[in-house]
């Protein structure tokens, strides 16, 4: 029987990284990512993990070290949050374009200013177009499991792309959750050693990321887009394989009580479990509501998403970030765009809530359902409603 233990989620992730036999960990501390990297440094210091631990002077350097390490063929892990992810920005595109399969946990946190260390999705939403595969965990077990999955997908011969696993800062990273730990032998079965296609080695010289003149640049970028879109198949297969070996099942889009649902909430990350409670309470009152949560954010699973929501009349999309200047949140924009060509589609109402650690209680979902219904009846409403804003 697998062992189920109470463990801080950050520690769980570090233990998962250990089981993946990473070669290089390069990081700079930023709240709330710190516990993951601290625990990894302990594992290296204890001799439990034979890896190069490189505590550098900034996130910009951390991801650059990661790029260099991955180019030599190493298995590379890093973690960051918020401003740290933003500081990595320029390198993130380089890593995906060079097809370097780095795995990074992002403990999602708000962006400055004002400085705020608490949770929302502003950091990763600003990086949604970096060409990385991006998944979201809703609880500690998922954060743990998605780490193995990330390495497996990233290093797949057909993929060769970096992966971000998103976990909500504090609400996931710092809480103690029951985590079913996996056996090393099973991890070895699931995740073979990395077999890089191209590496830096004088015996077999290559040139990575040289100047791309207009005659080749378009093709290089197109190649990245095709690789990312095509990676979905591998992402799904890797979850199927995960189920065979570890018994837990994951899909790009997950549903909760959506069978007869007329109104469906759409969420990402740990707020999903609160949304489940809200759905349960609403169901008790006889409301036909359900929940869809997005686990695979990039590449966006358009088909799976449509199949999950097509019977609903109303969608209430909860964003944890604002896409400034578009009058909406990024997830809402994505979904509206995804549904645009569909003949039969639900009314989509956007909401933004829970910025910078503001709590989202179940009552907020009751509010959402009222607003979304009345908007759908009238057929008009502001594109998105920012909930729980003090106006005076």
């Amino acid at each position: 029987m697998p062992k189920r233990v109470g463990m801080e989620v950050s520690i769980g992730i570090a233990e998962a990284v250990k089981l993946c036999d990473v070669d290089v960990i390069s990081a700079y501390p930023i709240t709330p990512q710190t516990h993951i990297v601290e625990h990894l440094s302990e594992l290296v210091a204890n001799g439990e993990l034979d890896a190069e631990f490189i505590p550098v002077e900034s996130e910009h350097t951390a991801i650059s070290v990661g790029a260099g390490a991955s180019a030599t063929g190493a298995r590379v892990y890093t973690a960051t949050s918020s401003q740290g992810l933003a500081l990595m920005h320029e390198i993130l595109f380089i890593v995906s374009s060079m097809r370097l399969p780095i795995v990074m946990t992002v403990a999602n946190r708000a962006l400055s200013a004002p400085i705020n260390i608490w949770n929302d999705h502003s950091d990763i939403m600003a990086e949604r177009d970096i060409g990385w595969i991006q998944t979201f965990a809703i609880n500690g077990q998922e954060a743990y499991d998605l780490t193995f999955h990330a390495f497996r997908v990233a290093e797949d011969e057909k993929v060769q792309l970096p992966v971000v696993v998103n976990i909500d800062g504090f609400t996931l990273s710092h809480v103690i959750e029951p985590i079913e730990l996996v056996e090393k032998e099973l991890v070895d079965k699931y995740l073979p050693p990395r077999k890089p296609i191209l590496t830096l080695h004088p015996d077999n010289p290559v040139t990575m990321g040289p100047v791309g003149i207009p005659e080749v640049y378009t093709e290089a970028r197109k190649q990245l887009e095709v690789a990312l879109m095509d990676s979905k198949e591998v992402v799904v297969k890797a979850w199927q394989e995960f189920k065979k070996i570890f018994g837990r099942e994951y899909h790009p889009i997950e549903t909760y009580k959506t069978k007869d649902a007329e109104l469906i909430f759409v969420t990402m990350g740990s707020i999903t479990e609160t949304a489940m409670l809200a759905v349960d309470k609403l169901r008790e009152k006889g409301e036909k509501v359900g929940l869809v949560y997005i686990r695979l954010w990039r590449p966006f699973p358009h088909e799976e998403f449509y199949n999950a929501i097509k019977k609903a009349k109303i969608l209430a999309v909860l964003d944890r970030a604002i896409s400034y200047g578009t009058n909406s949140g990024p997830v809402y924009t994505e979904i509206r765009s995804s549904l645009f060509d569909k003949k039969k589609k639900p009314y989509v109402q956007g909401f933004v809530a829970g910025l910078g650690g503001r709590d989202i209680p179940t009552e907020r979902f009751f509010e959402m359902i009222e607003i979304a219904r009345s908007a759908a009846e009238k057929g008009e409403c502001p594109q998105y409603i920012h909930l729980d804003v003090k106006e005076d």
Partner: protein, 248 residues
């Protein structure tokens, strides 16, 4: 009558509002107070614009009655450069820790110093990343334990403690570089004098001044405040010798 009523009350500087969030025994509050005293003495409070950093002193502007702006991590010298050039009549101070100035912002401080920007830097070196929970900083001593060097810092993997005053002393432009500490009254008074000198350099238009203050971190060093000041006095000063490196 309560005994406390018999103890003479020393006047608090007008600029310093006190009641800080810092851990018991931390040097930041002492340094804030010194800075407040010096600013009051020089009568420049209404001219000061302070750039506060990312790190434990992220709330410095809550305790010091200054005009101010929050600098992104390590970028205070860049912001200060602009503020001083566009408001030359103001007194511009950056207050930065070692995680901010000597790690993520090393390039900013070197280039601001090299351009000889006319602002004053208060650099607090406590050999650790305090705010994020005690990870190794570039200034961490060899052998010193931190949450990312649980068996101590080894030069082989993590290099050597970075000496900022010595590094900046290779540049032509800076006019004043001094390393001071807060481990006893004598050195606290020396720190006060250094802060005053650094601010006077700016008031009189001489050039770039930096005061490096060796401070403590009892929480992350896992010491009592007394032990931590002993560590500063006996260990840190061996690696980071006190004194004036530049005064021209």
């Amino acid at each position: 009558m309560r005994v406390s009523a018999l103890i003479p009350k020393y006047p608090e500087p007008e600029t310093y509002m006190g009641h800080t969030h810092y851990c018991p025994g931390c040097g930041h509050a002492t340094l804030h107070k010194l800075l407040g005293e010096v600013v009051d003495e020089l009568g420049i409070r209404k001219r000061v614009i302070m750039i506060e950093p990312v790190g434990c002193s992220v709330l410095a502007l809550k305790y010091l009655k200054f005009d101010g702006i929050q600098g992104p991590h390590g970028r205070a010298p860049a912001i200060a450069t602009a503020v001083k050039r566009l408001r030359p009549e103001s007194i511009v101070i950056t207050y930065q820790g070692d995680g901010d100035l000597a790690a993520i912002g090393t390039n900013e401080i070197i280039h601001a110093a090299n351009r000889g920007e006319l602002f004053t830097v208060v650099f607090v070196n406590n050999a650790v990343y305090g705010m994020t929970g005690g990870q190794m900083a570039p200034t961490t001593l060899l052998g010193q334990k931190s949450t990312t060097t649980p068996t101590g810092r080894f030069a082989e993997f993590c290099g050597y403690p970075l000496r900022v005053c010595e590094l900046l002393n290779t540049l032509d432009a800076p006019v004043y570089l001094e390393r001071v500490s807060l481990f006893d009254v004598e050195h606290i008074l020396k720190t006060r004098a250094a802060l005053k000198k650094a601010l006077l350099n700016q008031i009189e238009g001489r050039g770039f001044s930096l005061v490096e203050v060796l401070s403590n971190c009892p929480t992350n060093w896992k010491m009592t405040p007394e032990e931590s000041w002993e560590f500063v006095k006996n260990e840190m000063t061996k690696v980071f010798p006190l004194g004036v490196f530049r005064d021209k």
